[in-house]
Symmetry: C2
Subunit: 311 residues, 2 copies
Protein backbone atom coordinates (compact mmCIF):
# COMPACT_ATOMS: atom_id res chain seq x y z
CA UNK A 1 0.00 0.00 0.00
CA UNK A 2 3.01 2.27 -0.55
CA UNK A 3 2.49 5.53 -2.46
CA UNK A 4 4.93 6.92 -5.00
CA UNK A 5 4.83 10.68 -5.55
CA UNK A 6 6.64 12.55 -8.29
CA UNK A 7 6.84 16.31 -7.96
CA UNK A 8 8.97 19.23 -6.90
CA UNK A 9 11.10 19.82 -3.86
CA UNK A 10 11.60 23.56 -3.61
CA UNK A 11 12.74 26.47 -1.56
CA UNK A 12 9.84 28.93 -1.32
CA UNK A 13 9.90 32.59 -0.48
CA UNK A 14 6.41 33.61 0.51
CA UNK A 15 4.92 36.95 1.52
CA UNK A 16 1.48 37.36 3.05
CA UNK A 17 -0.16 40.00 5.23
CA UNK A 18 0.90 37.90 8.21
CA UNK A 19 4.60 38.04 7.44
CA UNK A 20 7.04 36.23 5.19
CA UNK A 21 9.47 33.35 4.95
CA UNK A 22 12.60 33.05 2.82
CA UNK A 23 13.83 29.81 1.27
CA UNK A 24 11.42 27.68 3.28
CA UNK A 25 11.18 24.01 2.40
CA UNK A 26 8.30 23.45 -0.02
CA UNK A 27 7.37 21.89 -3.35
CA UNK A 28 4.52 19.56 -4.24
CA UNK A 29 6.38 16.35 -3.30
CA UNK A 30 7.11 17.67 0.21
CA UNK A 31 3.60 18.89 1.02
CA UNK A 32 2.10 15.72 -0.45
CA UNK A 33 4.42 13.36 1.46
CA UNK A 34 4.06 15.09 4.80
CA UNK A 35 0.28 14.69 4.55
CA UNK A 36 0.14 11.19 3.00
CA UNK A 37 2.59 9.68 5.52
CA UNK A 38 -0.14 9.72 8.19
CA UNK A 39 -1.96 7.05 6.19
CA UNK A 40 0.60 4.99 4.27
CA UNK A 41 4.32 4.76 3.46
CA UNK A 42 5.41 7.34 0.88
CA UNK A 43 8.28 7.16 -1.56
CA UNK A 44 9.48 10.34 -3.29
CA UNK A 45 10.69 10.86 -6.85
CA UNK A 46 12.20 14.34 -7.11
CA UNK A 47 15.38 16.31 -7.66
CA UNK A 48 17.31 18.81 -5.55
CA UNK A 49 20.52 20.78 -6.00
CA UNK A 50 23.73 20.56 -4.02
CA UNK A 51 22.42 23.43 -1.86
CA UNK A 52 19.69 21.21 -0.42
CA UNK A 53 20.18 21.30 3.33
CA UNK A 54 20.90 18.13 5.29
CA UNK A 55 18.42 19.21 8.00
CA UNK A 56 15.65 19.24 5.42
CA UNK A 57 16.62 15.79 4.21
CA UNK A 58 16.56 14.72 7.86
CA UNK A 59 13.19 16.35 8.53
CA UNK A 60 11.57 14.26 5.79
CA UNK A 61 13.47 11.07 6.62
CA UNK A 62 12.50 11.38 10.30
CA UNK A 63 8.87 11.23 9.22
CA UNK A 64 9.30 7.92 7.41
CA UNK A 65 9.39 9.42 3.96
CA UNK A 66 11.46 7.27 1.63
CA UNK A 67 14.03 9.53 -0.07
CA UNK A 68 16.00 6.95 -2.07
CA UNK A 69 14.39 8.48 -5.16
CA UNK A 70 15.46 12.03 -4.28
CA UNK A 71 18.12 12.75 -6.87
CA UNK A 72 20.86 15.24 -6.03
CA UNK A 73 22.21 17.16 -9.02
CA UNK A 74 24.96 19.71 -9.53
CA UNK A 75 23.27 23.12 -9.28
CA UNK A 76 20.66 24.86 -7.21
CA UNK A 77 17.32 23.60 -5.89
CA UNK A 78 14.10 24.86 -7.52
CA UNK A 79 13.04 28.22 -6.09
CA UNK A 80 9.66 29.95 -6.07
CA UNK A 81 8.80 33.42 -4.82
CA UNK A 82 5.19 34.50 -4.41
CA UNK A 83 3.10 37.15 -2.73
CA UNK A 84 -0.51 36.67 -1.61
CA UNK A 85 -3.17 39.34 -1.89
CA UNK A 86 -5.00 40.39 1.25
CA UNK A 87 -7.90 37.95 0.72
CA UNK A 88 -5.49 34.98 0.22
CA UNK A 89 -7.48 33.72 -2.77
CA UNK A 90 -5.09 35.33 -5.23
CA UNK A 91 -1.34 35.44 -5.47
CA UNK A 92 1.33 36.84 -7.74
CA UNK A 93 4.37 34.81 -8.70
CA UNK A 94 7.37 37.13 -8.42
CA UNK A 95 10.03 34.62 -9.49
CA UNK A 96 10.34 31.00 -10.58
CA UNK A 97 13.86 29.61 -10.88
CA UNK A 98 13.63 26.03 -12.09
CA UNK A 99 17.35 25.40 -11.60
CA UNK A 100 18.03 21.62 -11.42
CA UNK A 101 14.30 20.99 -11.89
CA UNK A 102 14.65 22.09 -15.54
CA UNK A 103 16.49 18.88 -16.42
CA UNK A 104 14.44 16.59 -14.24
CA UNK A 105 14.11 13.20 -15.99
CA UNK A 106 12.79 10.89 -13.31
CA UNK A 107 13.88 7.26 -13.32
CA UNK A 108 12.04 5.10 -10.82
CA UNK A 109 13.69 2.52 -8.55
CA UNK A 110 12.71 -1.12 -9.09
CA UNK A 111 10.34 -1.19 -6.10
CA UNK A 112 8.80 2.16 -7.08
CA UNK A 113 7.90 0.58 -10.42
CA UNK A 114 5.73 -1.90 -8.57
CA UNK A 115 3.79 0.86 -6.74
CA UNK A 116 0.05 0.44 -6.31
CA UNK A 117 -0.58 4.14 -5.71
CA UNK A 118 0.92 6.88 -7.81
CA UNK A 119 0.56 10.64 -7.52
CA UNK A 120 1.79 12.72 -10.43
CA UNK A 121 2.39 16.17 -8.97
CA UNK A 122 2.26 19.32 -11.02
CA UNK A 123 5.06 18.78 -13.55
CA UNK A 124 4.88 18.73 -17.36
CA UNK A 125 2.39 16.18 -18.72
CA UNK A 126 5.21 14.61 -20.74
CA UNK A 127 7.17 13.98 -17.56
CA UNK A 128 4.03 12.71 -15.85
CA UNK A 129 3.53 10.29 -18.74
CA UNK A 130 7.20 9.30 -18.57
CA UNK A 131 6.81 8.37 -14.89
CA UNK A 132 3.47 6.64 -15.41
CA UNK A 133 4.94 4.43 -18.15
CA UNK A 134 7.52 3.13 -15.67
CA UNK A 135 4.94 1.86 -13.17
CA UNK A 136 3.84 -1.67 -14.03
CA UNK A 137 0.26 -1.91 -12.79
CA UNK A 138 -0.82 0.88 -10.47
CA UNK A 139 -4.20 0.52 -8.76
CA UNK A 140 -4.81 4.25 -8.44
CA UNK A 141 -3.17 7.02 -10.43
CA UNK A 142 -3.94 10.63 -9.56
CA UNK A 143 -2.52 13.79 -11.08
CA UNK A 144 -2.46 17.53 -10.63
CA UNK A 145 -1.79 20.06 -13.37
CA UNK A 146 -1.84 23.82 -13.97
CA UNK A 147 -2.85 26.42 -16.53
CA UNK A 148 0.68 26.58 -17.94
CA UNK A 149 0.49 22.92 -19.08
CA UNK A 150 -3.16 23.13 -20.11
CA UNK A 151 -2.30 26.00 -22.42
CA UNK A 152 1.14 24.90 -23.66
CA UNK A 153 1.14 21.10 -23.58
CA UNK A 154 -2.50 20.34 -24.11
CA UNK A 155 -1.96 17.37 -26.43
CA UNK A 156 0.34 15.57 -23.98
CA UNK A 157 -2.04 16.33 -21.14
CA UNK A 158 -5.09 15.04 -23.04
CA UNK A 159 -3.27 11.81 -23.88
CA UNK A 160 -2.60 11.21 -20.20
CA UNK A 161 -6.10 12.00 -18.90
CA UNK A 162 -7.56 8.67 -20.02
CA UNK A 163 -5.09 6.85 -17.79
CA UNK A 164 -6.06 8.67 -14.62
CA UNK A 165 -8.34 7.54 -11.85
CA UNK A 166 -8.33 11.02 -10.35
CA UNK A 167 -7.54 14.42 -11.79
CA UNK A 168 -7.29 17.24 -9.26
CA UNK A 169 -7.36 20.84 -10.36
CA UNK A 170 -8.58 24.20 -9.14
CA UNK A 171 -11.56 26.16 -10.43
CA UNK A 172 -9.50 28.33 -12.74
CA UNK A 173 -7.73 25.31 -14.24
CA UNK A 174 -10.91 23.31 -14.82
CA UNK A 175 -12.36 26.32 -16.62
CA UNK A 176 -9.30 26.62 -18.85
CA UNK A 177 -9.24 22.91 -19.61
CA UNK A 178 -12.97 22.63 -20.39
CA UNK A 179 -13.70 26.06 -21.83
CA UNK A 180 -16.76 26.16 -19.54
CA UNK A 181 -17.18 28.85 -16.89
CA UNK A 182 -19.83 27.01 -14.87
CA UNK A 183 -18.07 24.49 -12.61
CA UNK A 184 -20.70 21.75 -12.93
CA UNK A 185 -20.50 21.90 -16.72
CA UNK A 186 -16.70 22.18 -16.53
CA UNK A 187 -16.37 19.18 -14.19
CA UNK A 188 -18.60 17.02 -16.38
CA UNK A 189 -16.77 18.10 -19.54
CA UNK A 190 -13.40 17.11 -18.04
CA UNK A 191 -14.84 13.73 -16.95
CA UNK A 192 -15.49 13.03 -20.63
CA UNK A 193 -11.80 13.62 -21.36
CA UNK A 194 -10.92 10.43 -19.52
CA UNK A 195 -10.34 10.60 -15.77
CA UNK A 196 -12.73 8.47 -13.71
CA UNK A 197 -13.01 11.17 -11.06
CA UNK A 198 -12.46 14.92 -11.22
CA UNK A 199 -11.80 16.88 -8.02
CA UNK A 200 -12.22 20.63 -8.30
CA UNK A 201 -10.34 22.43 -5.53
CA UNK A 202 -12.01 25.74 -4.67
CA UNK A 203 -9.75 26.84 -1.82
CA UNK A 204 -11.77 28.33 1.02
CA UNK A 205 -14.98 27.31 -0.79
CA UNK A 206 -14.33 23.59 -0.60
CA UNK A 207 -14.28 20.81 -3.17
CA UNK A 208 -16.56 19.49 -5.92
CA UNK A 209 -16.14 15.82 -6.85
CA UNK A 210 -17.40 14.46 -10.16
CA UNK A 211 -17.66 10.80 -11.15
CA UNK A 212 -19.76 9.09 -13.81
CA UNK A 213 -22.45 8.13 -11.33
CA UNK A 214 -22.41 10.91 -8.83
CA UNK A 215 -21.38 14.30 -7.57
CA UNK A 216 -20.15 15.29 -4.10
CA UNK A 217 -19.94 18.84 -2.75
CA UNK A 218 -18.12 19.66 0.45
CA UNK A 219 -17.17 22.98 2.06
CA UNK A 220 -13.69 23.77 3.32
CA UNK A 221 -13.01 23.52 7.04
CA UNK A 222 -13.95 26.99 8.37
CA UNK A 223 -10.82 28.55 9.86
CA UNK A 224 -10.42 31.65 11.96
CA UNK A 225 -7.11 32.48 10.36
CA UNK A 226 -5.23 31.55 7.20
CA UNK A 227 -1.54 32.36 7.44
CA UNK A 228 -0.16 30.88 4.20
CA UNK A 229 -2.14 28.95 1.56
CA UNK A 230 1.02 27.66 -0.17
CA UNK A 231 0.89 23.90 -0.65
CA UNK A 232 -2.76 23.52 0.33
CA UNK A 233 -3.57 21.72 -2.93
CA UNK A 234 -0.70 19.24 -2.61
CA UNK A 235 -1.48 18.66 1.05
CA UNK A 236 -5.10 17.98 0.07
CA UNK A 237 -3.82 15.49 -2.53
CA UNK A 238 -1.68 13.82 0.15
CA UNK A 239 -4.71 13.31 2.37
CA UNK A 240 -6.81 11.98 -0.52
CA UNK A 241 -4.22 9.50 -1.82
CA UNK A 242 -3.13 8.58 1.68
CA UNK A 243 -6.63 7.60 2.69
CA UNK A 244 -7.24 5.69 -0.55
CA UNK A 245 -3.98 3.76 -0.17
CA UNK A 246 -4.88 2.85 3.37
CA UNK A 247 -8.48 2.00 2.50
CA UNK A 248 -7.44 0.05 -0.63
CA UNK A 249 -10.86 0.19 -2.26
CA UNK A 250 -11.82 2.93 -4.71
CA UNK A 251 -15.57 3.40 -4.51
CA UNK A 252 -17.80 6.42 -3.94
CA UNK A 253 -17.78 6.10 -0.14
CA UNK A 254 -13.99 5.79 -0.06
CA UNK A 255 -13.58 8.77 -2.39
CA UNK A 256 -15.79 10.94 -0.21
CA UNK A 257 -13.92 10.01 2.95
CA UNK A 258 -10.66 10.63 1.11
CA UNK A 259 -11.80 14.10 0.06
CA UNK A 260 -12.71 14.88 3.67
CA UNK A 261 -9.29 13.72 4.89
CA UNK A 262 -7.70 15.81 2.15
CA UNK A 263 -9.76 18.81 3.29
CA UNK A 264 -8.71 18.24 6.89
CA UNK A 265 -5.01 17.97 6.01
CA UNK A 266 -5.22 21.15 3.91
CA UNK A 267 -6.93 22.97 6.78
CA UNK A 268 -3.86 22.36 8.94
CA UNK A 269 -1.15 23.37 6.48
CA UNK A 270 -2.57 26.88 5.92
CA UNK A 271 -2.46 27.62 9.66
CA UNK A 272 1.31 28.23 9.55
CA UNK A 273 3.89 29.30 6.99
CA UNK A 274 5.28 26.74 4.59
CA UNK A 275 4.97 23.15 5.82
CA UNK A 276 5.59 24.03 9.48
CA UNK A 277 2.20 22.82 10.66
CA UNK A 278 2.55 19.44 8.93
CA UNK A 279 5.84 18.90 10.74
CA UNK A 280 4.32 19.18 14.22
CA UNK A 281 0.97 17.60 13.35
CA UNK A 282 -0.11 14.44 15.19
CA UNK A 283 -2.57 11.74 14.17
CA UNK A 284 -4.71 12.62 17.20
CA UNK A 285 -5.11 16.15 15.83
CA UNK A 286 -6.02 14.82 12.39
CA UNK A 287 -8.54 12.42 13.87
CA UNK A 288 -10.12 15.10 16.08
CA UNK A 289 -10.51 17.54 13.21
CA UNK A 290 -11.91 14.81 10.95
CA UNK A 291 -14.62 14.09 13.52
CA UNK A 292 -15.24 17.77 13.99
CA UNK A 293 -15.54 18.24 10.22
CA UNK A 294 -18.03 15.37 9.86
CA UNK A 295 -20.13 16.93 12.61
CA UNK A 296 -20.01 20.45 11.28
CA UNK A 297 -21.03 19.40 7.78
CA UNK A 298 -23.68 16.83 8.68
CA UNK A 299 -26.99 18.25 7.52
CA UNK A 300 -28.82 15.50 9.40
CA UNK A 301 -26.99 16.24 12.68
CA UNK A 302 -26.42 12.55 13.39
CA UNK A 303 -24.01 11.09 15.88
CA UNK A 304 -20.60 10.63 14.42
CA UNK A 305 -19.43 7.12 13.59
CA UNK A 306 -15.96 6.22 12.49
CA UNK A 307 -15.51 4.68 9.09
CA UNK A 308 -11.77 4.59 8.83
CA UNK A 309 -10.26 1.13 8.80
CA UNK A 310 -7.34 1.08 11.19
CA UNK A 311 -5.41 -1.67 9.50
Amino acid sequence: MSIVVVGSVAYDTVETDHGSVTDALGGSACFFSLAARFFAPVSVVAVVGTDFKPEHQQLLADRNIDLRGLERREGKTFRWHGRYHEDMNRRDTLATDLNVFAEFAPVLLPDQRRADYLFLGNISPRLQQHVLSQVASPKIVAADTMNHWIENERAALMKMLGKLHILMLNDEEVRTLSGEHNLVKAGRAVLKMGPKTVLIKRGEYGVLQFSQESMFAVPAYPLEEVIDPTGAGDTFAGGVMGYLARNRRLNEAALRSAVVYGTVMASFVVERFSLDRLVTLTWEEVDRRYRSFIELTDSQHRRWTSRIRRD
Copy 2:
Protein backbone atom coordinates in the same frame (compact mmCIF):
# COMPACT_ATOMS: atom_id res chain seq x y z
CA MET B 1 -47.94 27.78 12.57
CA SER B 2 -48.67 30.72 10.28
CA ILE B 3 -45.77 32.93 9.23
CA VAL B 4 -45.95 36.71 8.97
CA VAL B 5 -43.49 38.36 6.59
CA VAL B 6 -42.87 42.08 6.32
CA GLY B 7 -40.89 43.24 3.30
CA SER B 8 -41.08 44.74 -0.13
CA VAL B 9 -43.28 44.00 -3.10
CA ALA B 10 -41.51 45.42 -6.11
CA TYR B 11 -41.29 45.61 -9.85
CA ASP B 12 -37.76 44.58 -10.85
CA THR B 13 -35.90 45.30 -14.04
CA VAL B 14 -33.00 42.88 -14.26
CA GLU B 15 -30.25 42.43 -16.81
CA THR B 16 -27.94 39.42 -16.94
CA ASP B 17 -25.85 37.80 -19.66
CA HIS B 18 -28.82 35.51 -20.27
CA GLY B 19 -31.23 38.31 -21.11
CA SER B 20 -33.41 40.73 -19.20
CA VAL B 21 -36.84 41.34 -17.74
CA THR B 22 -38.66 44.62 -17.25
CA ASP B 23 -41.00 45.35 -14.33
CA ALA B 24 -41.12 41.72 -13.25
CA LEU B 25 -42.85 40.93 -9.96
CA GLY B 26 -40.28 40.81 -7.16
CA GLY B 27 -39.43 42.13 -3.70
CA SER B 28 -38.43 40.31 -0.54
CA ALA B 29 -41.99 39.60 0.61
CA CYS B 30 -42.87 37.93 -2.71
CA PHE B 31 -39.79 35.71 -2.94
CA PHE B 32 -40.09 34.78 0.72
CA SER B 33 -43.81 33.94 0.53
CA LEU B 34 -43.58 31.89 -2.63
CA ALA B 35 -40.94 29.70 -0.98
CA ALA B 36 -42.40 29.53 2.55
CA ARG B 37 -45.93 28.62 1.35
CA PHE B 38 -44.70 25.09 0.57
CA PHE B 39 -44.30 24.54 4.30
CA ALA B 40 -46.80 26.73 6.15
CA PRO B 41 -49.45 29.43 5.60
CA VAL B 42 -47.92 32.84 4.94
CA SER B 43 -49.38 36.25 5.63
CA VAL B 44 -47.85 39.33 3.97
CA VAL B 45 -47.30 42.81 5.37
CA ALA B 46 -46.29 45.11 2.51
CA VAL B 47 -47.32 48.06 0.39
CA VAL B 48 -47.94 48.52 -3.35
CA GLY B 49 -49.01 51.43 -5.54
CA THR B 50 -52.14 51.80 -7.61
CA ASP B 51 -50.19 50.45 -10.58
CA PHE B 52 -49.92 47.02 -8.96
CA LYS B 53 -51.39 44.61 -11.46
CA PRO B 54 -54.44 42.50 -10.59
CA GLU B 55 -52.82 39.46 -12.21
CA HIS B 56 -49.92 39.70 -9.77
CA GLN B 57 -52.31 39.95 -6.85
CA GLN B 58 -54.06 36.89 -8.25
CA LEU B 59 -50.79 34.98 -8.76
CA LEU B 60 -49.96 35.29 -5.05
CA ALA B 61 -53.52 34.70 -3.84
CA ASP B 62 -53.78 31.55 -5.99
CA ARG B 63 -50.83 30.15 -4.05
CA ASN B 64 -52.54 30.57 -0.70
CA ILE B 65 -50.61 33.67 0.29
CA ASP B 66 -52.70 35.83 2.60
CA LEU B 67 -52.74 39.37 1.14
CA ARG B 68 -55.08 41.08 3.59
CA GLY B 69 -52.01 42.93 4.88
CA LEU B 70 -50.98 44.15 1.43
CA GLU B 71 -51.71 47.86 1.62
CA ARG B 72 -52.55 49.74 -1.60
CA ARG B 73 -51.47 53.37 -1.61
CA GLU B 74 -51.83 56.25 -4.06
CA GLY B 75 -48.63 56.27 -6.13
CA LYS B 76 -46.32 53.80 -7.82
CA THR B 77 -45.02 50.45 -6.62
CA PHE B 78 -41.36 50.20 -5.51
CA ARG B 79 -39.03 49.69 -8.49
CA TRP B 80 -35.51 48.29 -8.65
CA HIS B 81 -33.22 48.09 -11.67
CA GLY B 82 -30.04 46.05 -11.53
CA ARG B 83 -27.44 44.52 -13.80
CA TYR B 84 -25.40 41.41 -12.97
CA HIS B 85 -21.76 40.96 -13.89
CA GLU B 86 -20.77 37.97 -15.97
CA ASP B 87 -19.91 35.81 -12.95
CA MET B 88 -23.29 36.55 -11.27
CA ASN B 89 -21.62 37.13 -7.89
CA ARG B 90 -21.66 40.88 -8.33
CA ARG B 91 -24.30 43.30 -9.47
CA ASP B 92 -24.73 47.02 -9.98
CA THR B 93 -27.89 48.81 -8.90
CA LEU B 94 -28.82 51.16 -11.70
CA ALA B 95 -31.93 52.63 -10.10
CA THR B 96 -33.98 52.35 -6.90
CA ASP B 97 -37.32 54.17 -6.84
CA LEU B 98 -38.87 53.65 -3.43
CA ASN B 99 -42.17 55.28 -4.47
CA VAL B 100 -44.96 54.22 -2.04
CA PHE B 101 -42.42 52.15 -0.10
CA ALA B 102 -40.87 55.42 1.19
CA GLU B 103 -43.87 56.01 3.46
CA PHE B 104 -44.38 52.41 4.47
CA ALA B 105 -45.58 52.31 8.09
CA PRO B 106 -46.79 48.77 8.58
CA VAL B 107 -49.75 48.16 10.88
CA LEU B 108 -50.46 44.49 11.52
CA LEU B 109 -53.91 42.91 11.49
CA PRO B 110 -55.17 41.46 14.79
CA ASP B 111 -54.40 37.87 13.79
CA GLN B 112 -50.96 38.84 12.45
CA ARG B 113 -50.18 40.21 15.92
CA ARG B 114 -50.62 36.70 17.27
CA ALA B 115 -48.14 35.20 14.79
CA ASP B 116 -45.75 32.53 16.02
CA TYR B 117 -43.28 33.00 13.19
CA LEU B 118 -42.10 36.39 11.98
CA PHE B 119 -39.71 37.27 9.19
CA LEU B 120 -38.47 40.84 9.05
CA GLY B 121 -37.35 41.33 5.46
CA ASN B 122 -34.73 43.84 4.45
CA ILE B 123 -36.33 47.15 5.49
CA SER B 124 -35.02 49.79 7.89
CA PRO B 125 -34.25 48.44 11.37
CA ARG B 126 -36.63 51.03 12.83
CA LEU B 127 -39.47 49.65 10.72
CA GLN B 128 -38.43 46.11 11.61
CA GLN B 129 -38.57 47.08 15.29
CA HIS B 130 -41.93 48.78 14.73
CA VAL B 131 -43.35 45.54 13.31
CA LEU B 132 -41.73 43.35 15.93
CA SER B 133 -43.26 45.44 18.73
CA GLN B 134 -46.73 44.69 17.36
CA VAL B 135 -46.36 40.92 17.60
CA ALA B 136 -47.37 39.66 21.04
CA SER B 137 -45.23 36.56 21.62
CA PRO B 138 -43.51 35.21 18.52
CA LYS B 139 -41.78 31.84 18.84
CA ILE B 140 -39.22 32.55 16.12
CA VAL B 141 -38.16 35.93 14.79
CA ALA B 142 -35.72 36.11 11.89
CA ALA B 143 -34.43 39.15 10.05
CA ASP B 144 -32.42 40.16 7.03
CA THR B 145 -30.55 43.43 6.62
CA MET B 146 -28.10 45.13 4.28
CA ASN B 147 -24.99 47.33 4.26
CA HIS B 148 -27.08 50.49 3.88
CA TRP B 149 -28.73 49.93 7.29
CA ILE B 150 -25.57 48.60 8.92
CA GLU B 151 -23.78 51.80 7.96
CA ASN B 152 -26.59 54.35 8.41
CA GLU B 153 -28.87 52.97 11.12
CA ARG B 154 -26.45 50.94 13.15
CA ALA B 155 -27.87 51.93 16.56
CA ALA B 156 -31.42 50.88 15.64
CA LEU B 157 -30.10 47.65 14.13
CA MET B 158 -28.00 46.80 17.20
CA LYS B 159 -30.99 47.36 19.46
CA MET B 160 -33.01 44.85 17.46
CA LEU B 161 -30.34 42.14 17.23
CA GLY B 162 -30.88 40.92 20.80
CA LYS B 163 -34.51 40.11 19.98
CA LEU B 164 -33.71 37.87 17.05
CA HIS B 165 -33.57 34.11 16.93
CA ILE B 166 -31.98 34.23 13.49
CA LEU B 167 -30.11 36.95 11.63
CA MET B 168 -29.43 36.22 7.96
CA LEU B 169 -26.91 38.24 6.04
CA ASN B 170 -24.40 37.79 3.25
CA ASP B 171 -20.62 37.64 3.55
CA GLU B 172 -20.13 41.31 2.71
CA GLU B 173 -22.75 42.40 5.25
CA VAL B 174 -21.39 40.25 8.07
CA ARG B 175 -17.97 41.75 7.44
CA THR B 176 -19.35 45.30 7.59
CA LEU B 177 -21.35 44.57 10.73
CA SER B 178 -18.50 42.87 12.60
CA GLY B 179 -15.48 44.66 11.19
CA GLU B 180 -13.87 41.23 10.71
CA HIS B 181 -12.81 39.98 7.29
CA ASN B 182 -12.58 36.32 8.26
CA LEU B 183 -16.08 34.83 8.17
CA VAL B 184 -15.64 32.58 11.20
CA LYS B 185 -14.50 35.50 13.32
CA ALA B 186 -17.22 37.69 11.79
CA GLY B 187 -19.98 35.15 12.45
CA ARG B 188 -18.91 34.66 16.06
CA ALA B 189 -18.62 38.42 16.61
CA VAL B 190 -22.18 38.97 15.35
CA LEU B 191 -23.46 36.16 17.60
CA LYS B 192 -22.21 38.21 20.55
CA MET B 193 -24.38 41.11 19.38
CA GLY B 194 -27.49 39.19 20.30
CA PRO B 195 -29.02 36.85 17.71
CA LYS B 196 -29.17 33.21 18.79
CA THR B 197 -28.20 32.05 15.31
CA VAL B 198 -26.35 33.80 12.49
CA LEU B 199 -26.69 32.53 8.93
CA ILE B 200 -24.07 33.80 6.50
CA LYS B 201 -25.30 33.50 2.91
CA ARG B 202 -22.37 33.05 0.51
CA GLY B 203 -24.30 32.70 -2.74
CA GLU B 204 -22.83 29.96 -4.91
CA TYR B 205 -20.48 29.02 -2.04
CA GLY B 206 -23.22 27.98 0.35
CA VAL B 207 -24.08 28.92 3.92
CA LEU B 208 -22.29 29.11 7.27
CA GLN B 209 -24.46 28.77 10.37
CA PHE B 210 -23.28 29.94 13.78
CA SER B 211 -24.94 29.24 17.13
CA GLN B 212 -23.54 29.34 20.66
CA GLU B 213 -22.90 25.61 20.71
CA SER B 214 -22.07 24.77 17.15
CA MET B 215 -21.24 25.65 13.58
CA PHE B 216 -22.67 24.19 10.38
CA ALA B 217 -21.16 24.58 6.91
CA VAL B 218 -23.05 23.60 3.80
CA PRO B 219 -22.30 24.15 0.10
CA ALA B 220 -24.81 25.55 -2.36
CA TYR B 221 -26.65 23.15 -4.65
CA PRO B 222 -24.32 22.85 -7.68
CA LEU B 223 -26.21 24.16 -10.72
CA GLU B 224 -25.33 23.94 -14.39
CA GLU B 225 -26.79 27.34 -15.08
CA VAL B 226 -27.72 30.41 -13.07
CA ILE B 227 -30.06 32.70 -14.99
CA ASP B 228 -30.92 35.36 -12.41
CA PRO B 229 -29.76 35.45 -8.76
CA THR B 230 -32.33 38.11 -7.78
CA GLY B 231 -34.31 37.08 -4.72
CA ALA B 232 -32.14 34.07 -3.87
CA GLY B 233 -31.56 35.35 -0.31
CA ASP B 234 -35.25 35.94 0.38
CA THR B 235 -36.17 32.62 -1.17
CA PHE B 236 -33.59 30.97 1.08
CA ALA B 237 -35.18 32.73 4.05
CA GLY B 238 -38.60 31.47 2.96
CA GLY B 239 -37.36 27.88 2.96
CA VAL B 240 -35.66 28.30 6.34
CA MET B 241 -38.64 29.90 8.10
CA GLY B 242 -41.11 27.67 6.29
CA TYR B 243 -39.40 24.53 7.52
CA LEU B 244 -39.06 25.87 11.08
CA ALA B 245 -42.73 26.83 11.20
CA ARG B 246 -43.73 23.39 10.02
CA ASN B 247 -41.29 21.62 12.32
CA ARG B 248 -42.22 23.84 15.29
CA ARG B 249 -39.07 23.07 17.28
CA LEU B 250 -35.97 25.23 17.08
CA ASN B 251 -32.96 23.05 17.81
CA GLU B 252 -29.70 22.39 15.99
CA ALA B 253 -31.10 19.51 13.91
CA ALA B 254 -34.14 21.58 12.88
CA LEU B 255 -31.95 24.55 11.99
CA ARG B 256 -29.71 22.43 9.79
CA SER B 257 -32.65 20.89 7.95
CA ALA B 258 -34.12 24.37 7.58
CA VAL B 259 -30.90 25.68 6.05
CA VAL B 260 -30.90 22.79 3.59
CA TYR B 261 -34.51 23.50 2.60
CA GLY B 262 -33.58 27.16 2.22
CA THR B 263 -30.66 26.17 0.02
CA VAL B 264 -32.91 23.96 -2.09
CA MET B 265 -35.54 26.68 -2.55
CA ALA B 266 -32.84 29.20 -3.52
CA SER B 267 -31.41 26.73 -6.04
CA PHE B 268 -34.72 26.76 -7.89
CA VAL B 269 -35.35 30.50 -8.01
CA VAL B 270 -32.05 31.29 -9.77
CA GLU B 271 -32.88 28.88 -12.60
CA ARG B 272 -35.28 31.38 -14.19
CA PHE B 273 -35.75 35.13 -14.24
CA SER B 274 -37.54 36.82 -11.37
CA LEU B 275 -39.82 34.50 -9.41
CA ASP B 276 -40.91 32.50 -12.46
CA ARG B 277 -39.48 29.22 -11.21
CA LEU B 278 -41.20 29.51 -7.83
CA VAL B 279 -44.53 29.94 -9.58
CA THR B 280 -44.34 26.61 -11.41
CA LEU B 281 -42.52 24.72 -8.66
CA THR B 282 -44.18 21.64 -7.13
CA TRP B 283 -43.62 19.99 -3.74
CA GLU B 284 -42.47 16.84 -5.54
CA GLU B 285 -39.64 18.83 -7.15
CA VAL B 286 -38.68 20.34 -3.80
CA ASP B 287 -38.69 16.94 -2.14
CA ARG B 288 -36.64 15.35 -4.93
CA ARG B 289 -33.99 18.05 -4.83
CA TYR B 290 -33.86 17.93 -1.03
CA ARG B 291 -33.08 14.20 -1.21
CA SER B 292 -30.60 14.77 -3.98
CA PHE B 293 -28.90 17.50 -1.94
CA ILE B 294 -28.63 15.30 1.16
CA GLU B 295 -27.03 12.62 -0.98
CA LEU B 296 -24.61 14.89 -2.77
CA THR B 297 -23.36 16.48 0.46
CA ASP B 298 -23.21 13.34 2.61
CA SER B 299 -19.54 12.73 3.34
CA GLN B 300 -20.41 9.32 4.78
CA HIS B 301 -22.37 8.27 1.67
CA ARG B 302 -25.21 6.81 3.75
CA ARG B 303 -28.64 5.90 2.56
CA TRP B 304 -30.97 8.84 2.67
CA THR B 305 -33.69 8.91 5.33
CA SER B 306 -36.45 11.44 5.55
CA ARG B 307 -36.62 13.64 8.59
CA ILE B 308 -39.40 16.01 7.64
CA ARG B 309 -42.56 15.73 9.67
CA ARG B 310 -45.49 15.64 7.30
CA ASP B 311 -48.07 17.06 9.65
